[in-house]
Amino acid sequence: MNKQTVDLIVIGAGPAGMSAALEATGHGLSVVVLDEQASPGGQIYRNILQADARSRGVLGDDYQAGAGLVAKFLQCGALYLGNAAIWQVTPQRKVHYLIDGRAEVLQGRHVLIATGAFERPMPIPGWTLPGVMTAGAGQILLKSAALVPRQPVLLAGCGPLLYLLAVQYLRAGIAIEALVDTSGRGDLLRAWREIPGALRGWRDLLKGLQLLAELKRAGVRHVRDARDLRIEGQAQASALSFDSGGRRWTIPAPLILLHQGVVPNTQISWSLRLEHDWSEQQLCWIARRDSLGETSLPGIFIAGDGGAIGGAQAALLEGRQAGLAIAASAGKVDSRQLRQRLAHYRKALRRQRAARPLIDAVYRPQQQNRIPADEVIVCRCEDVSAGAIRQHVALGCLGPNQTKAFGRCGMGPCQGRLCGLSVTEIIAEQRQVPAAAVGYYRIRSPLKPITLAQLSTETPFTQEPL
């Protein structure tokens, strides 16, 4: 059997993964990029190669910018494997994945985790009804299938991605029933005053305001400071009700798209038992890594939103930086060049990251939309409610692994991707301790389901040439 070892395995083909591959191949390293999607771009540039001019016009300039990156990536000499589902990564840098229904394993001298972000869960009453999806899902349908809502669509939650989707729909000629915003002007004013160096975030904030202005010009109904959201309906979503401006609203809609920000996809980093810190600013777990992106496991790096939410530009820089650091550790970069370029990335990243605190504060998701009432289902895989979790805490459970053992919450195939953050916060609030003291699920392989036949017949990766 061929025992090939690759210099660098990149997991994820978004901006961070692609930039790392570009950088590393530029220094002569052998690189394999494993991607769960069918073609590169991650979520932000999803399906960009197949997108026609009209779609690109609808999706906007930031999306368009990705086309050049993807084209360059496909030329750079990295081996791109799409439709590959990672099910295990070991501390010794073996990466196990499924492709074309087969199980394969690849050994890397270095591994870069560039898994990006996914939507923060928004467990409000009725969120599990058919007819409710995430704003990200709406965007994916737009990008990869050119599907748009047939009737006026209801958007609810907060954050710049919600406004972006609204504008994209407008440009595609789709009517928006309402944008029900859980944030408000008060958040902006408060954040502006409270965050030191808030001015550093003005560009991003301006972008958000410009999007809102476009919505206003188009006459889109934008209701702010929405509270006590509830999705109504029996077998399907039929309306969204909420409080705002001192009264209760009910807006009928057969399609409701929810969004309250994105969070890092930390499945792989947790499965490696890396240390994670709870960020009270971003309300999520951040894997510990050094300034170049290397974790406590030698040769394993993290770059982009999969480490901490920073946006596409930061992801591009982190990817480049990690690729450079990896090439340097392989002896492929002269020390003067290394020093100069690292200084450049450090400076550029500092600029990019400076904006974050303001964005995080302005669009901070409301506690009631993160820590729901007893009746709301938190674990969709096993249909476990917030109330059941609280009962287990009352019985004596200290953390999510004990509540999992007692109530099956987190035992389904999503393995906590949709419930993990909610459960940590519910337990922390019930116990009146910080989230950091509660911890997170023990994430186990397989990260994605694998059949017994696939598992029994796993073979080493043998593609040539590398």
Partner: protein, 374 residues
């Protein structure tokens, strides 16, 4: 200073079964348990109530296991009455599927030895491949035969843990979580120990801390030879019920998921999984039931069995530190009923229990002597 009559160190199946049994006798019990990320064999096991094959070479253990499963219905009923939780006790008998002639021969030999050691009171059947297939539809063509015993069964181990928790609390047991015991000292009136930020005083002490018993026992001058033995377990997506008997390699839970396992490794204190062992388990499962080949694995984990030097339980009432008892086993599910209903009374001092005589620590000492009566 926290005061309690009996202090049980360890809130797993062993500790809680004993605490429950003592509470049923009216004793005042407190249990100290570690945090959310402790090793917890109680959470990682297969849920088998198993008798066949156990105690080969040590018939008191075979006897003890037999009596344990006979007590299980009463135990489960008591737990349900006190907790409201049904632990899904099923005792339809169980199968050991044999995947080679050698395995079949070895299992048969053990079972025949055990039957003789138990004076014939040891029901089982040795089944050829076609007989096996008639009893268990879907068994694969490479299974050469099997051993069936009506003594065997299974239970939902997580519901058992939760039921024990709730039943203990209903009976007045105080369970304190997130505490790691540091220093144990002996006093004239009992024991004092530090756990977390608290200091405890107890008249009686039960060490039921699994692998932690080695370190805790040492503080009381006892050499407790327990070490970790890792088992990896795979769990599939839910299937409609198809397997109504437990087997040692494959068991369908009351939830519909299928557990696959029975691996043994010396991996130290590492409860992770490894793809090679997982692949072995998968291969074996597919041999047992070929139709499982297309079924998806959702989760896998490793858990550390608490294995004594000879693999048999340890029940030791310390003579140097009267009032301290060490309890250890790797079949905490099977023995839960007898731990609650016979071991606890023995610990409580109210009853003599001849069943524990064979399981003292002295059997491990180099100069093992036969105990004299009195």
């Amino acid at each position: 200073m926290q005061k309690t009559d009996v202090l049980v160190i360890g809130g797993g199946l062993v500790g809680l079964s004993i605490a429950y049994g003592l509470a049923l006798l009216g004793r005042q019990v407190s249990v100290l348990d570690e945090g959310d990320d402790a090793f917890r064999a109680a959470r990682g096991n297969f849920g088998l109530l198993w008798v066949q094959g156990k105690g080969y070479g040590m018939s008191p253990y075979a006897q003890w296991s037999r009596e344990a499963v006979a007590l299980w219905p009463r135990f489960a009923a008591s737990l349900q009455a006190d907790s409201g939780i049904d632990v899904h006790l099923r005792q339809p008998g169980g199968f050991q599927l044999c995947l080679s002639e050698q395995e079949m021969a070895e299992e048969s030999r053990r079972l025949l030895w055990l039957r003789e050691a138990m004076d014939g009171g040891y029901p089982f059947e040795l089944l050829e491949a076609d007989q096996l297939r008639a009893r268990l539809p879907g068994v694969g063509p490479t299974v050469v035969g099997g051993c069936y015993s009506p003594m065997d069964g299974h239970v939902n181990p997580l519901k058992l843990l939760r039921a024990l928790y709730a039943a203990c609390q209903a009976r007045g047991v105080r369970i304190v979580n997130g505490q790691r015991v540091r220093a144990i000292g002996q006093r004239a009136s009992g024991f004092e120990l530090d756990a977390g930020e608290q200091r405890w005083h107890a008249g009686q002490l039960v060490l039921a801390a699994g692998l932690g018993n080695r370190e805790l026992g040492a503080q009381l001058g006892m050499d407790v030879p327990v070490s970790p033995n890792r088992g990896q377990i795979l769990v599939t997506e839910r299937l409609k019920p198809f397997l109504h008997y437990p087997t040692t390699y494959v068991r369908q839970t009351d939830e519909g998921t299928v557990q696959l396992g029975d691996s043994h490794e010396s991996a130290g204190f590492d409860d992770g999984t490894s793809s090679d062992v997982m692949a072995d388990i998968a291969r074996r499962a597919v041999q047992c039931f070929p139709r499982l080949a297309e079924v998806r694995l959702i989760r896998a984990w490793g858990a550390l069995r608490v294995l004594s030097a000879d693999g048999f339980p340890i029940y030791e009432a310390s003579r140097d530190c009267p009032g301290a008892v060490v309890v250890s086993c790797h079949s905490g599910v099977t023995l839960a009923a007898i731990h609650a209903l016979r071991l606890a009374p023995w610990i409580g001092g109210d009853y003599d229990e001849p069943g524990v005589a064979a399981f003292g620590l002295q059997r491990f000492s180099r100069n093992h002597e036969v105990r004299h009566a009195g």
